[in-house]
């Protein structure tokens, strides 16, 4: 993998001289702020090849991009010309009017983009998506077979039955893992599971929360049944921890992010027995519902509002270079690319299956992040057995209502 990166970087450097002419920008500043994972590294590396002459390209790839993006883009001129956003961060940026509409730029420089890549809000293109991500099921086919389970689970009820079989066969004490670290991760697991019920999070057209109902109770109970088969430390498990546990061979069934697929399947950090028997399938459904219990996420390019039109154009052109089909073909297994030139691979099978089965996207609602925070903080008491599901949901509702009032979403 490391060697791969070096060859890639080398390839980009070699491309540099020809690409400069290919970008067709004569001047402008490009500064990119984004999360940090392989697909984004490929995109920003390719965008950086546009530098030269009067053009500068800088990128800041950080896990903490969410914490600095609002302040950095509120400044005028903005500190970054582009943010690589997702469902949730785009809403946060739009709430304060920090990103611009891309209609004119797409019309001028957006040949070759798929119409499905456009993120439009009220008819205006606000972002151009390039990759898709979702949490889905990772299974160990060898362990399942040893426990007498012959098919990969398709529902969470099957997952529970398989976990029980594995445990009673004495193969593993804690075969299941979800990203259940208290906070954002745990909130995301509730959101995913609740999505599988098909119910809404809010009363339609309002900011009033609507999870305190039978669907919410069922969701909590399902999460509790699953963590009963998880390591007792599950409230500290983030996606790095679950990936490490998986690669150490300690898990047989896990719900993890699609972007972890490539790293789990490669021949680094794990044994042949684990990686060759790992199967990636779509997110399970549950409770006789058709919709997979997962949320679809996109990663896409948004351009700051508080910058000159010249910089915006230069940034857009450089980013188009970053998500061009050449880049997609060279980095096919990084993510589920949405642009032309993408070939589905084993590492992305789970995300594709989840999307094909009709999973819903993470809601692009201004107050979703506030609910997500309340969920992550309040439901751990129930999972640990110190309060009832009804009490936990009432706490979520109360915490959300207080926070949403402070944010101005509720009066």
């Amino acid at each position: 993998m490391f060697l791969n990166k070096i060859t890639l970087a080398g390839a980009f450097m070699a491309l540099g001289t020809t690409a400069m002419a290919g970008c067709g920008i004569s001047s402008g500043n490009v500064k990119i702020l984004s999360n940090d994972f392989p697909a984004i590294q490929s995109v920003t590396a390719a965008a950086s090849t546009c530098a030269g002459g009067g053009v500068t390209v800088e990128a800041n790839l950080t896990k903490d991009h969410k914490d600095i993006m609002v302040a950095a883009l509120t400044a005028n001129p903005a500190q970054y010309t582009s943010v690589i956003a997702s469902n949730s961060t785009l809403v946060t940026l739009m709430n304060d009017g920090l990103v611009r509409s891309l209609d004119a730029l797409v019309a001028k420089h957006g040949d070759g983009l798929n119409p499905s890549q456009m993120i439009t809000v009220d008819g205006k293109i606000m972002a151009v998506a390039f990759g898709a991500n979702a949490q889905h099921l990772f299974s160990r086919s060898d362990i399942l077979k040893k426990a007498g389970v012959n098919s990969i689970p398709e529902t969470y009820e099957d997952v529970l039955a398989a976990a029980k079989a594995i445990k009673s066969a004495g193969l593993m004490d804690y075969p299941v893992a979800l990203n259940t670290a208290a906070g954002w991760n745990l909130g995301e697991e509730f959101v995913n599971m609740y999505m599988g019920t098909g119910a809404d999070f809010f009363k339609p057209g309002t900011a009033e929360v609507a999870v305190n109902n039978d669907h919410g109770v069922a969701t909590l109970n399902m999460l509790k049944s699953l963590v009963a088969y998880s390591n007792p430390d599950y409230l500290t498990y983030d996606s790095n921890a679950t990936q490490a546990e998986w690669e150490a061979g300690n898990l047989a069934l896990a719900t993890m992010w699609g972007t972890r697929g490539g790293a789990v399947l490669d021949d680094e950090g794990s044994t042949k027995a684990v990686s060759s028997n790992t199967v990636l399938t779509g997110a399970p459904t549950w409770g006789n519902n058709a919709r997979p219990a997962s949320t679809l996420w996109w990663d896409g390019i948004a351009i700051s509002a508080n910058i000159s039109d010249e910089d915006a154009e230069a940034t857009f052109i450089a980013m188009m270079k970053g998500i061009s089909s050449d880049v997609i073909q060279a980095n096919n297994s990084d993510t589920v690319w949405l642009g032309a030139g993408y070939m589905p691979s084993a590492a992305s099978a789970g995300v594709s299956a989840t999307a094909a089965a009709g999973a819903a996207p993470y809601p692009m609602l201004p107050f979703m992040g506030t609910l997500h925070g309340a969920l992550g903080a309040e439901i751990s008491d129930f999972l640990q057995g110190s309060e009832s599901a009804e009490q936990a949901l009432a706490d979520v509702e109360a915490a959300y209502t207080a926070a949403a009032t402070e944010k101005g979403f509720l009066n």
Partner: protein, 343 residues
Amino acid sequence: MKNHTFFWFILPSLVTMMLFIAMPIGSVFIQSLHIEHGAVLTEVKNCGPFGCKMEVQVDVEATSELKKAKPLGKFNGFGTYNNRNHLAVVELSQAWNDSTNWGTYFRKIYNLPFYRALAFTLTYTFVVTPLVLMLGFCIALGVNSLPKNIKGPTIFVSLLPMIVTPLIGSLILFWMIDAEGILGASLQWLLEDPNLSLKASPNLTWVMLIVYGVWHSAPFAFIIFYAGLQTVPADTIEAAMIDGASRWERTRYVVVPHLVPLIVFITLIQLMDNFRVFEPIVSFSAQANATSLSWIIFNDLAGGEGSFFGSAGATSVLTILGVAVLLIPVLFRTWRDFKGKVV
């Protein structure tokens, strides 16, 4: 010193204190009285790679006019202080009415985020501070009686927990106490309980954080006590020895009274520091079982998407008040001693 001279003498520090302490606290307080403007919501059609959907969005233009007129936000008085996520005035009285005994009342209070954090913060403060004083004093006495040639290295090693960055130190401990780490696995073996997990149970998490706190702060008390021990008058000790005082009696009746001002000083600093406990909660991923006031502030500012400046401001002001209340007894004592000396 004449009043006039005194004024010019302390003017620079007064100005810097105004600029860098009083004014930021004032601005935090003002921010805590405000909430964001009511967002103007509209329903629009959103489309993306996964299809189209009618969804509610913030009407940026309408909202930005409100923001431009009043950038601080909407005045809310003490509304944020009293809401459910802070002092929870309404919830407290409701819990009182709904409860038949003290047990249920306290359980209901403990369910509120602010009081839950306060419970851990106070427990941590009042357990760690005396333990740090005692342990630091014992290490100082021990090191003081070592032969000269090994004193230096011992002092260096004893100071290590304080030298290591708190975030790094607690992260390393976090890995060590993992069920597969050296400490976690040893404990499982010692107690013959293969399911023992220090991270999973609320009680053990508290114990773990407190042990970490003592480990981290003891060197601070140690080095101050050690310095103090060098000033204990040798002739008083000798006199005590001639009078037949045992080592324990010499420590109890000569050394400890001599070090009282240092004990007050360390208590003061430790109360303030421990009330603001924060790093170990983040590094130990302990937020499900233990939160502190400082952690709540951090979570409001950087926990999710968007920041809650009003909430963070309110908790900050409450933390300052808490520190003030804690310090009053100690400051009162210092003041009394000071007065006693002057008169």
